[in-house]
């Protein structure tokens, strides 16, 4: 049985898309296909009108487990993606420092991941992804390894970075299993079913930001999405 079937949707530049679905529905696989990390067995991904044949170098990924190199400092972890793109040492250092500053990690440059709280580790993951100046930021359950208060702080910080006109990234696709998180953050919520993962609904969220989790409309939208998945 295929992991994913009959999935077709368009992501417009500047949108914040959330992919939600029950665990094992293939949403993380779909995200990897969109970033070009995994080729689809059937079907195509079009990026700016062209068929995507390999890793999309305009994209970057933020992982649930942070995926940091424990033997590298914060600066080293942020620079590592830039090294792969052939930047000189000086250019790497300058660019990494800029994005370290943007995510609030200034002062932690020489810290190792073991010295950091979960929130700070994910900020490193975010700075590393942003440093390659992606047009498309893919985030796979970016807050699910964090405690609830850290999650609240990081969600708002991600939205601030997305809304920041000086940042190159303007399109975000985020996988989450928390429906409320999708409704609070995204412009559109794509709902997947499982076995195989198919697209059940594409729900626009037109509420203005900042959104309030106690807003009854947030509750109503979350309930609707939940009943689709149930």
């Amino acid at each position: 049985m295929p992991a994913l079937r009959e999935i077709s949707f368009t992501v417009r530049e500047g949108e914040f898309i959330a992919l939600v679905g029950p665990s094992g529905c293939g949403k993380s696989t779909l995200l990897r296909i969109l970033a070009g990390l995994v080729p689809p067995t059937e079907g195509v991904v079009l990026y700016e009108g062209q068929t995507q044949k390999s890793v999309n170098l305009d994209s970057a990924m933020v992982f649930q487990s942070f995926a940091l190199f424990p033997w590298l400092t914060v600066m080293g972890n942020v620079e590592v993606g830039l090294e792969a793109r052939g930047l000189s040492k000086m250019a790497r250092r300058k660019k990494a420092a800029y994005f370290i500053d943007k995510v609030g990690l200034d002062g932690f440059e020489e810290a190792y991941p073991r010295e950091l709280s979960g929130g700070m580790k994910q900020r490193v993951g975010l700075a590393r992804a942003l440093a390659v100046e992606p047009k498309l930021l893919c985030m796979d359950e970016p807050f699910s390894a964090l405690d609830p208060l850290t999650t609240l702080a990081l969600r708002e910080e991600v939205l601030m970075l997305w809304e920041d006109q000086t940042m190159p990234v303007n399109t975000i696709i985020m996988v989450t299993h928390i429906i409320e998180e999708a409704v609070l953050m995204a412009d559109r919520v794509l709902v997947l079913s499982s076995h195989p993962g198919t697209l059940l609904a594409d729900i626009p969220i037109t509420l203005s930001r900042p959104r309030d989790k106690k807003d009854p409309v947030v509750d109503e939208l979350s309930d609707n999405i939940f009943s689709l998945m149930a």
């Binding site: 500053d101 002062g107 020489e110 810290a111 950091l116 709280s117 964090l146 609830p148 208060l149 702080a153």
Partner: protein, 165 residues
């Protein structure tokens, strides 16, 4: 002034608490908050205590209430947020003592063991290893202190020790 230990919490948790309160008309019952966010009460009280020490929240009765400075912090981007926290940290006796201790050293830097000794002298009943980690994390966040874990040296950030160059 009496030196108080820092609760073992990260800046992210304190900012998260402010975000929660901001979404709750600025105030919440502490017990209800612990339930809502599935926090053990003691852990939540540590976060609240740190927010209080920084002047970002207060706890009248059984509630936790965001203060004007807490709201100002949320309105700002990360760089300005860090400046607010930096200013508040410099008012805390523990940071004042360590800053003075580092300034009195020749190069504005001291090894971890010396700092631990000073902390145990000031706070003999505290777990000094944990306190050191917390101080380093807040000091780094506010760019007051730097810490090089390979050489185990704590030092004043350049702006706090301009004459150290």
């Amino acid at each position: 002034m009496e030196i108080e230990p820092l609760p073992q919490v990260s800046a992210s948790k304190v900012i998260g608490l402010l975000e929660y309160l901001d979404d709750s008309n600025g105030k919440e019952d502490i017990y209800r908050l612990a339930e809502e966010i599935h926090y053990e009460l003691g852990e939540l009280l540590s976060v609240i205590k740190m927010a209080e020490m920084l002047g970002l929240a207060e706890t009248p009765g059984g509630d936790v209430v965001i203060q004007t400075l807490g709201r100002d912090l949320l309105k700002n981007k990360m760089v300005e947020r860090k400046l607010i926290i930096r200013e508040q940290l410099t008012k805390l006796p523990i940071f004042q003592r360590l800053t003075q201790f580092l300034q009195e050293s020749e190069s504005g830097r001291l090894d971890r063991e010396t700092i631990l000794e000073e902390l145990s002298r000031c706070l003999p009943h505290e777990n000094i290893d944990d306190l050191f980690k917390t101080v380093v994390n807040w000091g780094r966040f506010a760019e007051l202190f730097g810490y090089h874990s390979d050489t185990r040296m704590l030092y004043l950030d350049e702006e706090s020790f301009p004459s150290g160059s």
